[in-house]
Amino acid sequence: MAIKPGFLSKNPSVLVFLLVLAAFTLGVTLMSEAYGAGVVSTSFVKTLGKTLCLCLIAIAMDLIWGYTGILSLGHFAFFGLGGYMIGMWLMYARTREIVLGSQGALPPTPQELQDAIATQIFGVVGTSELPAIWSFAGSLPAQLALVVLVPGLLALIFGWLAFRSRVTGVYLSILTQAMTLALSLYLFQNESGLRGNNGLSGLQNIPGVAADQDHLSIWFLWASAGMLAAGYMLAAFVTSGKFGSVMRGIRDDEARVRFLGYSVESYKLFIFTLTAVIAAIAGALYYPQAGIINPGEMAPIASIYLAVWVAIGGRGRLYGAVVGAAFVSLVSTWFTGGRAPDLNLGFYTVKWVDWWQVLLGLSFVLVTLLAPKGLAGLVDLVQGLRHPNRGGDPMGPGDGSLREEEAVE
């Protein structure tokens, strides 16, 4: 991507963000067990790497929701699909290594090899046939291409159908939620060819790489950080120019943009597909660090949590999404990991493992009600930026009626 002169000056947050991200990555590397002091455990490095991937999908969510105003409740489906696509290769190639290692006196024929791999992978769901969708699983470049192509195509087709028939607002949200539900229910079946509710496992072992998990986790952290940086710059590029203006126009008044002559549907479709691809790439980086993927990860609720992160972080600005995803998922890990101290109220002891969800839900309500700008709104406070207070009660019952203070002016 060629950065045009003025890109950074138009997007001051990019430079800050890249510097912070670089400092963070360097810091973690220097504290890791593989390359530094060993202060940070490998499992925590993995958590951080996964968090970076979540930040990347949060950027995608911010693009589609914060900038374009489409509340998609289906982006975790693309995230999961990306994970499945890379997981297929990881599992196939690793099983292949195992099978080759335990061969008999004769070298196996290609057919024998495939049958042995299929038995290993699908024994758990009671078949030994390799489904057709695994045809390319032996090839890393093919599966990497599928990481982008499968979710991209799905988003393209779904988006084309949905936007073409002018499904908007909450209808679209529910429709995307239905799509996610359908996909996860489909993957839950053994017949889907992706091991049903067992999902794909053992993904943390990278075939053909001899390095241990300490090193692998750092490499994945670097890859995630790099991809997050690239994603951030791409998102900043997309939102900064004319294209970004149209996106915001669609968000604020879709009909007006349409009457100005823009093909609203094409813009929406492009953003929907682009964000789906970004989500898929994030997923492809996330699941090798998580080690396992199953259809439960793609349940509709995951996508709603994604919206929660972005909302808490602050919609309509890229760093808001990143801060929200990082903050909520790390705090969530801290609370649900049982490391948070219990809160003794005298008559009742609050165990955070049990009450964290309640806290999250309520704080989400409060953020939506009281601080629609989210955590990123704090930046505005620091910079002294404020919207003029146009509050006051309406003077008439209609939406457009003057408000008290406007009338006074």
Binding site: P110, A178, L362, V365
Partner: protein, 669 residues
């Protein structure tokens, strides 16, 4: 008397060789054998059961399956006490005292409590050594049991007769046919007589002696849906696949042509199984042979490293065959030739062709009828599912349709209603009363929660519908976790009253449980209630006014805030009642509501927003659709849901505003 004498002679003649065959009897038994004829001779005054027992005491003490038949028949004819004696005998509750007399016995601490088999009077207690227990073997017990059937079938007590018929229906055998037929004549109760005739036909189908008799019985069942009929007919048409060297023999159902009705692989496997042809060379066998012949890193001159190529493997194997170290693989031509020499056919195990033909015809007729009935059953199921969805969605339709507010916490309101029912049952033990209390209470509680939510949260977000969705989702996850913290993760029982247990069985195929009927009725009641509130009350009028044009309604003196609050309360309250109803048949967990929430949204969206008839149509469509898809693939309800959602996504393409779309100004945007 003459008859009895003949029977005695016959029994003795039959018994003699049996004694010779048995293993050497124990001391006690042999003494009784010696005793037996004496007893018969010394007690000429004995009559009835006592006489028979005395006469055959040897046979009874040491029975053999082959010879005991006439003796049991004799006992059976002996009158009073006989059935009880037979039953006790089959149960191993009969003992023989030293004097050769038989008693019904019951084990006590000191020995046996005796009961006289004829009079049923207690006859004291004897120590264990004074008595030998009779232990008839399984074969004899079977004979006794079937003799007992005869008595039971003509027992004066109708309940006994019914019990006997039930037992026969479960495990009837050929020998039951005659006693059953005999008992029909004398049967006084018309209902039992009908049951007996039906059972007689069923047994005739299976065990009848002539084919005319069996065919007549089969034809009588034409179109009968009962499971027992199918159970009797199905074994008749069981086929086995057989290989014949010449023409097919036996009761042939179908001659199979290789390549058309039967795959070549399968046909050849049949030949191999029958031992008529050598097995084909399998890949693993070939591999084993190759591995066994590895010689200095090569097999028959081919290096091992190259053997991952199937062609090279073939070559190596052929070389081994040429060396005589392996058997040759069969060629396709050889297999074809082998197959050509045989006939393959499906053969009935039942030998009578007219019977199988009649049975197949009857089964076909039954299958057609069963198909129709299954469709009816499916219709009922779908209707019940539709009413559940309607009940779950109606509250949502009010809040979403009338107010344009998405309430993601709707599912939790349903759960709240179900838990209310559970808590009420903790305090009110009577299930009927508790349900009657729980329904209005659930309405009040969830309506209260709804009003509180509207006041605190939703009111501030009317201009931002997408954010309502998110805020209510936040409430939803908080509520769900609170339920978990209070009630735990395991399912809680919400028991329905006894009069709702069971199902309405129309026939063996079509049935529907009473709970589902109750839910259907409840759904109808709520439809009527909703229509009445909307069309006939002041509140309904104001709600419609606010829905259509809030500003104008406000100008006319209606308070939109109040109306919105009440509408939201009503919608939430109905969710609570739906929760009680759903909790009666589903597991009450904190996730109860979220299982229904997506379907409820679908119902509202498919039906069309802002119209109760649309919701009804949506629920019906989704209910029937889901059941129909499940019918195609009954084992996989996940697939059904997947395809249903895909269908709905496609449906939205064609009718983006639902089945019943508002038109004109009422449509709003």
């Amino acid at each position: 008397m003459r008859h009895r004498f003949l029977a005695l002679t016959a029994a003795l003649c039959l018994a003699l060789p049996a004694f010779a065959q048995e293993t050497p009897p124990s001391a006690e038994v042999s003494s009784s054998e010696i005793f037996a004829p004496e007893a018969a001779g010394e007690a000429p005054a004995l009559t009835g059961l006592a006489a028979v027992l005395a006469t055959y005491s040897g046979d009874i003490a040491k029975p053999s399956r082959k010879t005991i038949g006439p003796v049991i028949a004799e006992i059976g004819a002996a009158g009073e006490g006989a059935p009880a004696f037979l039953a006790a005998w089959a149960d191993k509750r009969v003992g023989q005292a030293k004097d050769g007399r038989f008693y019904l016995i019951e084990k006590t601490k000191d020995g046996y409590a005796l009961t006289d088999p004829v009079t049923g009077a207690a006859a004291g207690t004897v120590p264990k050594s004074e008595l030998s227990e009779l232990k008839p073997n399984a074969g004899v017990r079977g004979v006794i049991a079937s003799a007992l059937v005869e008595f039971q079938l003509s027992d004066p007590d109708p309940a006994q007769r019914r019990a006997a018929l039930d037992a026969l229906a479960r495990n009837g055998a050929a020998e039951h046919l005659e006693p059953l037929r005999a008992s029909i004549e004398t049967e006084a109760d018309p209902a039992i007589r009908e049951q007996k005739e039906r059972l007689e036909r069923l047994l005739t189908v299976r065990f009848g002696t002539s084919s005319e008799e069996r065919v007549a019985a089969i034809e009588h069942f034409n179109g009968d849906l009962a499971l027992d009929v199918r159970g009797a007919l199905n074994p008749i048409v069981v086929i086995t696949r057989k290989v014949f060297e010449g023409a097919a023999e036996g009761n042939v159902a179908q001659v199979l042509r290789v390549g058309k009705d039967l795959g070549e692989e399968e046909a050849y496997l049949l030949l191999v199984e029958a031992g008529l042809a050598p097995a084909r060379l399998t890949a693993s066998e070939r591999r084993a042979v190759l591995e066994a012949n590895i010689d200095a890193g090569a097999v028959a001159g081919v290096p091992i490293a190259e053997l991952d190529d199937p062609a090279k493997r073939n070559a190596a194997y052929k070389a081994l065959v040429a060396e005589g170290k392996a058997r040759a693989a069969l060629t396709e031509r050889e297999i074809g030739a082998a197959l050509a020499g045989f006939t393959f056919a499906d053969v009935y195990s039942e030998t009578d062709a007219t019977v199988t033909a009649a049975a197949a015809l009857a089964l076909q007729a039954i299958d057609t009828k069963v198909g129709v009935m299954q469709a009816a059953d499916l219709g009922l199921d779908a209707l019940s599912l539709a009413s559940i969805y309607f009940l779950a969605a109606i509250g949502l339709a009010i809040t979403f349709g009338v107010m344009g507010v998405i309430n993601m916490a709707h599912g939790e309101f349903i759960t709240m209603g179900a838990y209310t029912g559970y808590v009420v049952q903790l305090y009110i033990a009577d299930y009927t009363t508790s349900i009657l209390v729980a329904l209005p209470l659930a309405f009040l509680i969830t309506a209260g929660a709804g009003v509180a939510m509207e006041r605190l949260v939703i009111r501030h977000l009317y201009k931002r519908p997408l954010e309502t969705l998110l805020a209510t989702f936040g409430i939803s996850i908080a509520l769900q976790q609170i339920f978990k913290n209070i009630f735990g993760t395991q399912a809680r029982p919400l028991t329905s009253p006894a009069w709702l247990d069971g199902a309405w069985m129309i026939n063996d195929v079509v049935s529907i449980s009473y709970i589902r009927i109750a839910i259907f009725v409840l759904a109808l009641i709520f439809l009527a209630l909703f229509l009445w509130v909307m069309k006939r009350t002041r509140l309904g009028l104001e709600v419609r006014a606010v829905t259509q044009n809030p500003s104008m309604a406000a100008s006319m003196g209606i308070n939109p805030d109040r109306i919105n609050m009440l509408t939201f309360g009503l919608g939430s309250g109905i969710a609570g009642i739906a929760g009680v109803a759903i909790g009666l048949f589903a597991k009450v967990t904190s996730e109860l509501g979220s299982d229904y929430i997506v379907q409820s949204f679908m119902t509202v969206v498919v039906g069309g927003v802002g119209n109760i008839w649309g919701t009804l149509a949506g629920a019906t469509l989704i209910g029937f659709l889901q059941k129909t898809i499940e019918w195609f693939n009954p084992s996989n309800t996940l697939a059904a849901q997947t395809y249903m959602i895909l269908f709905i996504i496609a449906f939205i393409q064609f009718r983006p505003r639902g089945i019943i779309a508002l038109k004109g100004r009422a449509a709003g945007d």
